[in-house]
């Protein structure tokens, strides 16, 4: 699965994208957030406060209960500040 990071997520992760092998039990966004959060200390701080996380799957904003599969492009970023 291709994961993209923007703004503070890109800065703190130190990368703008990565390819992960999606474990078979990670079937929705919430489980992916938990899985990423458990990877290391850095990502655990970044992925703890769900209020500050926005997720897009295939370039559409989604809720945490959205199902995902390994072909999806998933992006993590903070609340948007356009305009």
């Amino acid at each position: 699965m291709r994961i993209l990071y923007f703004a503070n997520f890109r800065e703190k992760m130190g990368l703008s994208e990565e390819i992960i092998i999606l474990p078979s039990n990670v079937s929705n966004v919430r489980l992916l957030v938990e899985w990423l959060s458990a990877r290391n200390e850095l990502s655990s701080t970044l992925f703890t406060d769900h209020e500050l996380i926005r997720v897009a799957v295939n370039q559409e904003i989604v809720e945490f209960d959205t199902e995902i599969n390994s072909d999806d492009e998933v992006a993590f970023f903070p609340p948007m500040t356009g305009g």
Binding site: F6, A56, Q59, A75, P78, P79, T81, G82, G83
Partner: protein, 152 residues
């Protein structure tokens, strides 16, 4: 039409193009967003806009269509810049043209409210006292919510 670009734009030129190309326009409304000079008491040196290429264009397209569904518009334009900007630089331009003034005003505000919270842009401000990501305002969420209940 939507455009996502790093280059500056000329407001007068964009309005002229719309008024010259379309027939029977009663009024044109435009909003231009600028980089502020101060954030609270801190002087802003630069503002860098990051965005999600691909998703940005897709979302802007979608909302422009939505505005055209809700209001009777002769034409509409959204230009949103990205990259490193200075105070007073233009960030965003929304133009709506209609046979009726109310449709032009309302759809222009609708598009701006929507861009604030739903367009995948993020602003990094560099000030005298350091740099930070601009936090989203909950008041902006409320502004956009009102359109989900409001009838045209």
């Amino acid at each position: 039409m939507i455009r996502v670009q790093s280059e500056d734009f000329d407001i007068g030129d964009e309005i002229a193009i719309i008024s010259n190309q379309k027939k029977n326009i009663g009024g044109i409304c435009s909003f231009t967003g600028l980089v502020r000079e101060f954030d609270l008491n801190n002087k802003i040196q630069t503002m860098t806009l990051e965005h999600y290429p691909g998703m940005t264009e897709k979302q802007l397209d979608k909302i422009e269509k939505e505005a055209n569904n809700r209001w009777e518009l002769s034409d509409s334009l959204i230009i949103h810049r990205y990259g490193r900007l200075k105070p007073k630089d233009k960030i965003v331009l929304v133009i709506t043209a209609s046979i009726h003034r109310k449709a032009a005003f309302e759809s222009c505000e609708f598009l701006m409210d929507w861009l604030k919270t739903k367009a995948p842009f993020w602003k990094m401000e560099e000030t005298d006292s350091g740099s930070h990501w601009v936090a989203a305002k909950s008041s902006d969420d409320l502004e956009v919510e009102k359109w989900s209940t409001k009838k045209k």
